[in-house]
Symmetry: C2
Subunit: 316 residues, 2 copies
């Protein structure tokens, strides 16, 4: 089992995502031999909470030039774990403070826009930036919700750039492996299409159902009879409005394409209902049920298999 | 606490819904003093399984004229717990065997079509039929999945007809109260609109998402990166295709109306995404999140309140 070592990790945004990685590197001692972790917050107060909880060793405010320069000096790793819309200003803020040997990665839910932001801000340092996305989340957010095992068995997607050195990509892969994740690589366009389909679109559809109910005269009555199906379908409608606004806009091309495909399916189902075409409805429902059941069984089988070795990616 | 007494209850369709009511009346002894329970199946073999499990005392095959006549003689209650499309042929089958004192109710997910079926088959006996719908279900089906506490704290909606005697409606209410349910009444048109919104539409939308993904070239890749949001959103896409085909057709008017309202919301969200209107997206997402969070908290508060008295409906 390989050990992931670092001297200084600087995390921008010590919330659920950044805080969970810090906790994982700290508490999963068998796979990570750590140096210090510095948390950078928009204010010192927000980052200070992470220090009090023992998630990071030192904290720095983003607007403190001297402290930020000091934090980045000698850092071997920087993780950007802020809402995707903040990626560009954050990279612009730190570009001039970076050492040649510092690797940068991110945890954004979209990748084409992050790559564009990195290219426009990092210039000749673009090869130091390895785009990434841990496909993990919870409804709860903030450093209080951070868990050392949030990434165990979860997918992390890296979208390496042509300018990245293979050894640097391998190092970011080892970082996530140390947290227990299963690391894959794909290109940014493919990543954004896949996530638009299985994550961004369902979130949009779930928000939309609650919005539609609220717009009807008998909304309160309807909600008072909502049961388990509604509960699960709309769980993700309790997600962060700001985060999902940013994701919908950042990934608008892929999301609109998936939405349009979905609208086509809905139009076909609507036509079958109006025409009383039970056979067409049943065929769609049976196909969906079979695929959903198989998907669940694969997940259960993977869980039963136990943990992958931390640096033994299951899928490449 | 009132006690619900019966001499003979005949259940058509001893699966999850009918079997759970039988188990509840049997095992919740403090609120139900029971006579015998007869299960009627399409074949003797299917009903026999319920008898072996101790869910019913006697079993009868639907196509056995003499046995069916004997089962219905002296029955004080009949429950139709079969897929809604079977309600009309079942009522037609039993109409001529019914005593004047036998009350009939059903557990169908739609009500306008069930009422129409009852009117066309029961004729002058229509006053003996009290339409009902226990809003409870699980992905699993069949008598093996039947639970004595399936209805505890769940909503049961009755849609009384003008021809029903108030005492008969009160008796059906007491039946479900004895199983632990919270009983409400509304008219059939309102019931179908409410359920179309919070149950039937989410099921259709969930099936549709899996269908849409399956129709894309990279379906397998997409599914391999699907995570918790997809899991919850599509849990109900593993539901019975036959049952949901029947519901979509039986409730097509209300379902298409809700679907069209939903398509209007999706068109607005699509336009906001294309226009880059983050404020519009965030307003919708924030409204949905607030309503979904409040809904969840009401549910949690109701759970914490503990069981309602079995004949103390919480909502009228």
């Amino acid at each position: 089992m390989a050990t992931f070592c670092f001297k200084k990790l600087v995390i921008f945004g010590v919330g659920l995502i950044g805080g969970s990685l810090a906790r994982a590197l700290r508490e999963r001692g068998e796979s990570a031999a750590g140096g210090i972790v510095v948390g950078v917050g928009r204010s010192l107060a927000s980052a200070e909470r992470a220090r009090q909880l023992g998630v990071v060793d030192e904290v720095v405010a983003l607007d403190d030039d001297a402290a930020l320069r000091g934090a980045l000096a000698g850092a071997d790793l920087v993780l950007i774990a802020a809402p995707v819309a903040q990626t560009e200003p954050l990279l612009a803020r730190i570009a001039s403070f970076l050492d040649d040997s510092t690797l940068i990665t991110d945890a954004g839910s979209t990748k084409l826009d992050v790559v564009a932001a990195a290219r426009s801000t990092l210039g000749a340092r673009i090869g130091q930036f390895v785009p990434g996305h841990p496909v993990a989340g919870r409804e709860s957010s903030g450093v209080e919700a951070a868990l050392a095992d949030l990434y165990v068995g979860r997918n992390v997607v890296l979208c390496p750039l042509p300018e990245n050195r293979p050894a640097d990509v391998a190092r970011i892969e080892a970082l996530w492996c140390a947290a227990g994740a299963v690391v894959s690589t794909m290109d940014a366009e493919q990543h954004d299409r896949v996530l638009a389909s299985v994550s961004h679109l369902p979130h949009l559809l779930s928000f939309a159902l609650v919005e539609q109910i609220l717009g009807t005269p008998d909304a309160a009555l309807k909600l008072s009879f909502a049961a388990g199906g509604f509960r699960d379908f709309t769980r993700i409608a309790a997600s962060s409005p700001e985060m999902w606004r940013d994701i919908c806009l950042a990934n608008r091309t892929a999301l609109v394409a998936e939405l349009d495909g979905y609208l086509t399916v809905l139009a076909q189902l609507r036509a079958a209902i109006v025409a009383g075409d039970g056979a067409a409805l049943e065929a769609v429902f049976a196909r969906s049920r079979a695929a959903r059941t198989a998907w669940q069984q694969r997940g259960t089988a993977a869980d039963a298999e136990g943990a992958h070795g931390p640096c033994d990616p299951a899928r490449t």
